[in-house]
């Protein structure tokens, strides 16, 4: 027997509600429902089948497809490769205001240190009040050097400075902080393009807030289009987040999530696990 159009529509309606309540963006929810209906329509079952488990397995397949879009990124592997070619690994962090870029840099600096790799922070947010002092204090707490210039200086120049410093001192990784910016602000997006043009990062990390709603679609789309995203970091997962944002950002960027921020301390950084999101969303 095939699943009837009517029964697929009924399950899809329930699925849509579950996904929205689990904080998946509307556009991503539509895509999941579309793929789910397509798969389900191709399935034959007998009167001995457990249709509920067929539905759940199909849903899991669709979510897994979306959540594992491409090669996952192993940061430590990439650092090793960069060390072999005797160049620092350069990583740029960007995203809208207040999502946790600066704290993520501090956490990753600590993570690298715990794995035996050195890093330097580039204070590339030369605009926002207190941004340089904030990064410098993280650097002091972790004993990691921060390269900074004055407020109002050219962010690209600071990044360039930091890369030269890392190259001459044999530091393994350069972590470039940038100012928060709305993806719809074309001047600020052009500035970020310039920072990336000058610093030629090996990795470009989009940083997002897991509490963000449908704006995450526009953010991921425009940052990917104008800058290019190699991986995403989603923060504030500890705020009792349902996890839907992880599905939305991966769906739109077609790139993996590398880390999740699960708190405000340096150790509150987790490598992304698909299972964690699936367990949250799947009934």
């Amino acid at each position: 027997t095939d699943f009837s159009i009517k029964s697929i529509a009924k399950v899809n309606k329930e699925l849509k509600d579950i996904l929205i309540k689990n904080e998946v963006a509307v556009k991503t929810t539509d895509e999941i429902c579309k793929r789910f209906a397509k798969k389900l329509s191709k399935i034959e079952y007998t009167r001995f089948s457990n249709t509920r488990s067929i539905v759940l397995t199909t849903l899991r397949e669709v979510l897994l497809e979306i959540l594992t879009p491409s090669q996952s990124i192993d940061l430590i592997e990439l650092v090793k490769i960069a060390k072999e070619r005797k160049n620092p690994l350069v990583i740029a962090f960007f995203g809208v205001n207040g999502v946790g870029k600066t704290l993520s840099i501090a956490k990753i600096g600590k993570y690298l240190m715990d794995n035996g790799y050195s890093s330097v922070f580039a204070a590339g947010d030369t605009f926002r009040a207190g941004s340089i002092q904030q990064l410098q204090k993280h650097g002091d707490n972790l004993n990691i050097r921060v390269i900074a210039q004055n407020y109002g200086s050219d962010a690209a120049a600071v990044a360039y400075d930091a890369i030269n410093h890392a190259t001459s001192k044999g530091i393994d990784v350069v972590l470039i902080d940038t100012a928060g910016r709305m993806e719809t602000n074309s001047n600020l997006m052009a500035e970020l393009q310039k920072i990336c043009k000058v610093s030629e990062p090996d990795l470009k990390f989009f940083v997002g807030d897991a509490l963000t709603g449908n704006a995450l679609i526009s953010q991921a789309k425009l940052f990917n289009q104008k800058i290019g995203i190699d991986a995403s970091i989603l923060n504030k997962i500890d705020a009792d987040v349902k996890g839907g944002a992880a599905v939305s950002v991966t769906h739109i960027s077609e790139k993996p999530i590398i880390f999740l921020g699960v708190g405000q301390n340096y150790e509150d950084l987790e490598s992304f696990s698909v299972e964690m999101i699936l367990d949250n969303i799947l009934p």
Binding site: V26, V96, N214, A245
Partner: protein
């Protein structure tokens, strides 16, 4: 742009004669989708859609173009009902000092808003000072100092002090002695799962007794906004909401849901990082933007 999707759906659906059952269902789906894309919390969105269906069936829809207009105005009215249809101004005591405390989730824009609010209040002839009790976030004190230096508003902070309540009482006392009549208190970010921080917020409000507790909400927040706001309102007497970052692509439905959850009015909207980007909240234009 989103509103045009709702517009198109409504136009298509109401093109012919009186709408049939199938058309009503289609209309409800289009409305629900528009509200969800605007980040309105699921149950609130469903409530609005049901109410619109009931009202438009009740008085029967007029024919033609005016039918579409009346559906849109019913949607507009239902959403505005949530926000209150009048403007709720910030109340400053004429004869004694006013204490305002800002609370909210990490990164929502409290510190930036504190400076904006200080300038707004200063323009109304008050002598304003700001206290930061954020002893956790590195550089929080410097951030507020730098923001307030351009408007010559004094800032009190003591990042080395582990006791936020002590910083608050010391700062408020200092500024009251110096005859400041409006004191804004910036607090550290916190969310509903951080029970110790919620407890700290309760202690702060119990001890300082602010005249107004403002929940600062990031305009980009989605479905999570509603329950986060309820949690804040359960712990402390939130009096109003300020919505930030409305210069992004978000429609603000999350912040509307937050205000509904806390059962308070939205008093200000921030649409930019600079110190002048703070406007008195206008429910009509907010709802207009939400449904496009």
């Amino acid at each position: 742009k989103l509103g045009s999707a709702l517009n198109t759906a409504i136009s298509k659906i109401l093109r012919g004669g009186p709408p049939d059952k199938e058309q009503i269902r289609e209309l409800k789906n289009a409305m629900l989708k528009a509200l969800l894309e605007a980040d309105v919390q699921f149950d609130l969105a469903a409530e609005v859609v049901n109410e619109v269906e009931r009202k438009s069936m009740d008085k029967g829809l007029p024919d033609g173009l005016s039918r579409k207009k009346s559906v849109l105005s019913i949607i507009h009215d239902e959403l505005s009902k949530f926000l209150g249809t009048r403007v709720y101004p910030l109340t400053l005591h004429p004869d004694r000092p006013t204490l305002i405390m800002l609370v909210g989730i990490q990164g929502s824009g409290k510190t930036t808003t504190a400076a904006k609010l200080a300038k707004y209040i200063q323009k109304r002839g008050k002598k304003v000072a700001v206290v930061t009790v954020d002893n956790f976030r590195p550089g929080a004190y410097e951030q507020l100092q730098q923001l307030c230096s351009s408007i010559k508003v004094p800032v009190y902070g003591d990042p080395e002090n582990k006791n936020a309540v002590k910083i608050a009482t010391d700062g408020v006392k200092k500024f009251l002695d110096e005859k400041y009549n409006t004191i804004i208190i910036d607090t550290a970010g916190r969310h509903k799962e951080e029970k110790a921080l919620l407890k700290e917020m309760k202690e702060l409000t119990d001890k300082i007794k602010p005249d107004e507790i403002i929940l600062v909400v990031d305009g980009n927040l989605g479905q999570a906004a509603h329950d986060q706001a309820s949690a804040f309102a359960e712990v402390t007497k939130v009096g109003s909401v300020i919505v930030t970052k409305m210069d992004g692509s978000a429609k603000g439905g999350g912040s509307l849901s937050a205000a509904v959850a806390a059962n308070v009015p939205i008093k200000f909207l921030a649409d930019g990082e600079d110190i002048d980007s703070l406007e008195e909240f206008n429910p009509t234009s907010f709802v207009g933007r939400l449904i496009g």
